[in-house]
Symmetry: C2
């Protein structure tokens, strides 16, 4: 459909605009060595590209700026595979060097390195933890009538919640309760726990232990909002580095939108590979001026989390995609090492 020359010009225009954030003129383009054409020729081609909807003008006599369609085409067809600079590579890998055993830490670190390397905002969705299984319950009495309920999952996460058993808890009550809980619920996936607590087990518990209700409620409390996916933001302030956000008002709008929590579907990626949503392709209206690039990473065999990078539409797609590719890969394998077994990185199966 497009001639080679048009492709070239479109590509260079987008590249240039991504780099400079300034409308690209024909004269400017003609100076590049890849372009052996005169400004006039380029003008003609640009006019055609504008008619086709790939480019736009900010005003009658301005240079050209990519339209959303232009970006889309660029992302789909014109992206040149990028190589990372050595230092980027080193930095990216550095987080997987140290022996980190908590998935959450690894994920946090990934988010922060990404936002650092891209100068955009990163959102990392932690994996769905509802499939994690309960490994141990315990209850530790504190002073007075208070006690703290603790739940450990097989992934090594520890949730806890302080509660107050107004009617008092005897040591034997606690022991009974803890034993019952461990007997009945260890090995159960988190997603099942609320149901189990509410129905089957409930009566059993209440028959044996005086204050079972309070304890159960408190265990449920400690799980609220914790079994669902978690979002880690990083580099929210990076948006201030982008020239299009030189206005405090815009920055504020963005930060407020982010802080008030976006629906996580925006950042989720259940598909294989990398997804790019440009401007209005994002469902959320507040992200109309942004592009979001997402990819999935694997946690163990069947769970996935998502990484999302939010930047202006004039985002460095090539670089971000390369970075995401590498990082999701690295993160996946780091997490695999973590969840399968601690052994693999030191010794063989024996």
């Amino acid at each position: 459909m497009l001639t080679n020359r048009q492709l070239l010009i479109l590509q260079l225009t987008v590249n240039d605009f991504i780099e400079s954030a300034q409308p690209v003129g024909s004269r400017q383009l003609s100076k590049k060595e890849e372009v052996p054409f005169s400004p006039a020729t380029i003008r003609n081609e640009m006019a055609d590209l504008e008619e086709l909807g790939y480019l736009e003008k900010t005003h009658t006599s301005s240079g050209r700026v990519p339209s959303e369609k232009g970006y889309r085409f660029y992302v789909d067809h014109l992206l040149t595979p990028q190589k990372l600079k050595m230092e980027d590579n080193l930095q990216l890998r550095s987080i997987f060097q140290e022996r980190v055993l908590e998935a959450e830490v690894l994920i946090r670190n990934s988010a922060s390195i990404l936002s650092e390397l891209t100068n955009y905002t990163t959102v990392l969705l932690g994996p769905d933890t509802t499939a994690h299984k309960v490994k141990r319950f315990s209850i530790v009495p504190l002073s007075g009538t208070k006690a703290v309920a603790i739940m450990v999952t097989d992934s090594g996460r520890v949730e806890n919640h302080v509660f107050d058993a107004a009617d008092g808890l005897s040591a034997t009550d606690i022991e009974k309760m803890v034993n019952l809980l461990n007997e009945r619920l260890v090995g159960t996936p988190l997603s099942e726990i609320p149901r189990m607590l509410a129905t089957e087990s409930k009566m059993l518990f209440e028959r044996h232990v005086k204050n079972a209700g309070t304890i159960l409620t408190s265990i449920q409390d400690s799980m609220i909002g914790k079994t669902e996916e978690r979002m880690f933001y990083s580099g929210q302030m990076n948006m201030m580095k982008q020239p299009e956000f030189n206005d405090v008002q815009k920055v504020k709008t963005f930060l407020e939108a982010i802080e008030h929590g976006m629906p996580l579907t925006l950042f989720k990626n259940d598909l294989a590979g990398i997804q790019v949503r440009i401007g209005s392709e994002n469902k959320e209206q507040t992200l109309g001026d942004f592009s979001v690039i997402t990819t999935a990473y694997a946690v163990g065999t069947d769970m996935t989390g998502s990484i999302a990078i939010i930047g202006p539409k004039r985002m460095d797609y090539g670089r971000v995609i390369t970075l995401l590719d590498i990082l999701s890969e690295d993160l996946s394998s780091a997490l695999a090492r973590l969840t399968i077994d601690g052994r693999t990185d030191r010794r063989n199966e024996s």
Copy 2:
């Protein structure tokens, strides 16, 4: 030293500037009903106040702006006691209505309500937890050679750390270890734990348990950075609402300074009552354009935390001081209820 009229004019000038963020002129001031003087008279007084160093001009023919000395005098002598609006009062109190049992949650909520009510940035220093005592250790084995070490303090905090005992841990080893730890260390203040682990107990442990070293290290790891005071920030973005920060660059500088962590001495207040540090009175150079107001709150009988509010020098000192007074009081008593006993808010001693 200053005449009554000078006091009045200084006060009104500061008030006005705090409200409007604009230099205050003589004509403008003379319009207020509290002022029965002509602009000319006010000009004369202002000229004197300027000579005395309380006011400044931004340029030769501009209105007056308070100097740091002016703010200082205002804070020390001219502050009129403020009454809170009913709604502010309600909002402020609301966080202590719900039954919250975790000190940390209470503290976080306090920080966020303060930043909401003031439109400034709040820093809340959690109490020194080194005096908290260990209530329970436990170790939960996960898959492979990994396990998670858990430590519960008498305040109900739960710290945990995943570790990898490369040489394997038998169930009996773990049990032995946990028993030893609990026997020897329960009741010990956190500040003592590292020493205990490193010296006295260490040999004992190592004699009885194969892999004691790994476990000990991991317990120490789980305490790193957790026994010291913690800072809770809230409302960092509020600074963008202040007209003096209409420039992205300034906002960025501020946010970066905050994020990169200020020495907490800046926000700490070990004295009784409220402290105000204006502009260059802050040790840290980056806070030269800000004022910081701090107060202490009590946690139980002998521990304290600090609340700090950071705003522009042109901060509403009266309001902030009032709010801080009330909140530190409320927070203190809420925490007292928490740490002494769970009973007090439901029933009498019996």
